[in-house]
């Protein structure tokens, strides 16, 4: 899953005071500011802005095998938002968001709260172990799980055999959704746990002392104090998870080849865009699908951030 980073404002902010007297100084400072931001600006321009503009231009054209290239305005977008394959993909990732994000958040929150409460050597070890899956590249992780799920190589058959059961087929139509949720939770819960853990560490311990003096139990402290104190971090990981899940690609794409048709070429919007571009050579429509997905993500994230603006402090 891809993550979008929040970009920082330019380092050198113009000083507002003493405009007349400081004109020369501030201009010189501004020049240095541009110099320092230049490397970043170049990379941003070359690797993000230019490709985006190029893709947008592509999405306004249509190239057919028999007819050649022509300008079609927003016809590709109209096609995308009425394309049942695209819409079924959007529905799938929305469903994933509804199921996956709460699971991820609960798992990472519980882990963070436990690790925050414990200070033994075991806690430090556990923290590392929970975080390790995040260090495994998503593609490798998905491949690994593919083998674990495999009916003939995977350990499932054996494990289930111990208690006299037969293992489920993890790639069956009705199971593949759960199999994917499991992989993503395994991969990302540790990362979110670290964010929450860091936020917990930042809370002033005197607040806990005050709570203890007032007679709060450890559980009450966790629920009534710790969770509200890190609400903005919870919102942050929720937005990360939302954007990542809507762009779901790596894991289903890796498992596609083993999943006997349970994961189709339009399972998620990103897989669909990839197939349309590189398998069907329709770069125009693929660009439109990608932008259409971008619109869905933007609207989704905005609505969500607006709804939680009091908690998150992300929008004032």
């Amino acid at each position: 899953m891809a993550q979008t980073a929040v970009t920082a404002p330019p380092l050198a902010a113009m000083s507002r005071s003493g405009r007349r007297r400081g004109d020369v100084v501030s201009r010189r400072r501004a020049r240095w500011g541009w110099a320092f931001t230049a490397p970043f600006a170049v990379i941003l321009l070359v690797f993000l802005i230019v490709p985006l503009v190029f893709a947008f231009v592509l999405s306004l054209q249509n190239t057919t095998l028999a007819g050649g290239t022509s300008w079609v305005g927003f016809a590709n977008y109209i096609k995308a938002f009425t394309d049942p394959l695209f819409l079924s993909g959007v529905w799938t990732v929305v469903l994933f968001s509804i199921v996956l994000i709460p699971i991820q958040m609960v798992v990472s929150l519980i882990a963070a709260l436990l690790l925050d409460a414990l200070t033994s050597r075991f806690a430090r070890f556990s923290r590392l172990m929970i975080f390790v899956p995040y260090a495994v590249p998503a593609v490798i992780g998905a491949l690994m799980w593919g083998f674990l799920y495999s009916p003939s190589f995977g350990p499932a058959q054996e494990v289930f055999g111990w208690i006299g059961l037969t293992a489920p087929d993890f790639f069956a139509d009705q199971n593949v959704f759960g199999s994917l949720v499991n992989i993503v939770t395994w991969q990302w819960a540790g990362y979110y746990m670290i964010i929450l853990y860091a936020a917990l560490q930042g809370v002033d311990p005197t607040i806990y002392e005050a709570a203890r003096v007032d007679g709060a139990s450890a559980f009450q402290t966790a629920v009534r104090i710790k969770i509200p104190m890190i609400a903005s971090s919870l919102v942050l990981i929720l937005v990360f998870a939302l954007i990542g899940t809507l762009q779901f690609f790596n894991e289903p794409q890796m498992l596609r080849g083993m999943a006997s048709g349970s994961i189709t070429s339009h399972y998620t919007p990103n897989i669909y865009a990839y197939t349309v571009a590189f398998s069907y050579h329709q770069f125009n429509y693929a660009s439109a699908i990608a932008f259409a997905l971008g619109i869905v993500i933007f609207v989704g994230s905005y609505v969500f951030m607006f709804a939680t603006r009091k908690r998150s402090g992300l929008m004032k």
Binding site: V42, I43, T64, M258, G261
Partner: protein, 440 residues
């Protein structure tokens, strides 16, 4: 301050190297040595196993043209890069290896050039009619055939003997054998009918007479995917699937590869290139005895031969020196010496007649098949009697829709007729979007 400057410097350097990377994309790094450095260089993408000696042989024997070969990935990996490079207008190789099934796609979008205008027609007699027509459109050839995939039935003699099966010559006998296996309580299934068979199902449909595509002119095409022949074949297989006489697991997975050799399946309907891979799969039965028989027939009085896979060399529209590129495409596998390397080291099935019809190839005995002369027994007939098959100019999409259809029947969600009707509808609608005038 010093540290800050150093950090800034490092960052700037990083920026330069990063942007530098994007600038010089089409690096000329060959995976082979150039032997005559002042000769015209022709870049080539190909993924044949053990291909380097073949390239070296060409370079040694050609003073004016040299091949610069790169393995840019197999199948779709290469096509993805090739299509992107064509779209970008630069970065494509001069000569590119393509499977026959994608050649019509690249002819349609103009990515590869007409080799008939570069004098390739003189080679026509070196290839079978089917092989040549697979790479042609409207009488012009666009790629030079290299290897083919004539189909036979690879089977486990030890398992056939154990369960008293006779080698089937018709599909009815094949189904009877499958039933016999089940009645004997064997864990072994007769074969697999994978949802992602793609070329496999297409070939099986073609054997019964399906000719789904016809391209006339630039924008006229006939699409007929739910014809009687396809219906007959899919119903036949769906019957076996629903009775659990054949498997339905996806092909080309690690699991599947192991199942091919560990006795899960008693036979596999496959092209001549599969044995080369079978030997490398892990988990094989020690006692396995493989043999090859001709593919079962619908009408044994009028046998029809089929083909799966096979590849060719085409010249891309970005080739600077198209004449030199054509020389490479025509010449690389145009000698007996090159073919001996291809056959011995890469287990390729040649389409070049001088070697195909040679005694050397005919009489070659294969240890893997207990010394059976598989070419003489099966594959030569299959190759020479293969009449060719017209693929669509958007075959990847067609395969994806076929995959949907076969999965739907395999999982019992749809009846064969219904699934094929959906297949037809999806492909026709796509063809129309692409600007074709479609007749059904």
């Amino acid at each position: 301050m010093k540290r800050l400057l150093a950090a800034g410097g490092a960052l700037a350097l990083l920026a330069v190297t990063l942007t530098g990377c994007s600038g010089g994309g089409s690096g000329s790094s060959c995976q082979n040595k150039i032997m005559h450095s002042d000769a015209t260089q022709v870049s080539m993408w190909a993924w044949y196993p053990n291909f380097k000696p073949v390239v070296n042989l060409f370079n040694k024997t050609h003073k004016k043209v040299q091949i610069c070969w790169t393995n840019a990935g197999a199948g779709n990996d290469e096509y993805t890069k090739f299509s992107t490079a064509i779209q970008a207008g630069s970065g494509a190789p001069d000569v590119v290896m393509l499977e026959s099934e994608v050649v019509p796609s690249y002819i349609a979008d103009g990515s590869i050039v007409n080799l008939s205008t570069l004098g390739a027609d003189k080679l026509k007699d070196n290839y079978s009619e089917g092989a040549w027509s697979d790479e042609s459109k409207g009488g012009d050839v666009y790629a030079i055939p290299v290897d083919g995939g004539p189909v036979g039935m690879l089977y486990r003699k030890d398992l056939f003997d154990k369960y008293g099966l006779t080698v089937p010559t018709t599909w009815d006998e094949f189904a009877a054998d499958a039933q016999k296996l089940k009645d004997a309580g064997a864990k072994t299934l007769m074969t697999d009918f994978p949802g992602n068979g793609r070329a496999y199902q297409t070939a099986l449909f073609a054997q019964a007479g399906s000719e789904p595509f016809e391209l006339t002119g630039k924008t006229d095409m006939k699409v007929d995917l739910d014809d009687q022949a396809s219906n007959k074949v899919l119903s036949y297989w769906n019957d076996l699937v629903q009775k659990k006489l054949v498997g339905t697991e996806d092909a080309s997975t690690t699991d599947y590869n192991t199942h091919l050799v560990n006795g899960t399946y008693a036979s596999v309907i496959a092209a001549a290139w599969l044995p080369g891979y079978l030997q490398g799969f892990t988990g094989a039965d020690k006692s396995a005895q493989w043999r090859v028989a001709p593919v079962p027939q619908w009408d044994p009085a009028n046998p029809v031969q089929i083909n799966i896979g096979g590849s060719a060399f085409a010249v891309s529209n970005q080739a600077k020196d198209k004449k030199a590129a054509a020389t490479v495409a025509e010449g690389i596998f145009g000698t007996e010496a090159a073919w001996k390397l291809g056959i011995e080291k890469a287990a390729l099935f040649p389409l070049w007649k001088p070697i195909l019809e040679s005694d050397y190839f005919k009489e070659k005995a294969y240890d893997f098949f207990g010394g059976q002369q598989i070419n003489k027994d099966v594959f030569l007939t299959a190759a020479t009697e293969y009449k060719g098959f017209q693929f669509s100019p958007f075959q990847n999409l067609v395969y994806d829709k076929l995959t949907d259809a076969v999965n739907a029947t395999n999982k019992g969600k749809q009846q064969p007729a219904q699934a094929l009707a959906g297949y037809q509808k999806a492909v026709v609608s796509y063809a129309k979007q692409q600007g074709y005038k479609v007749t059904e």
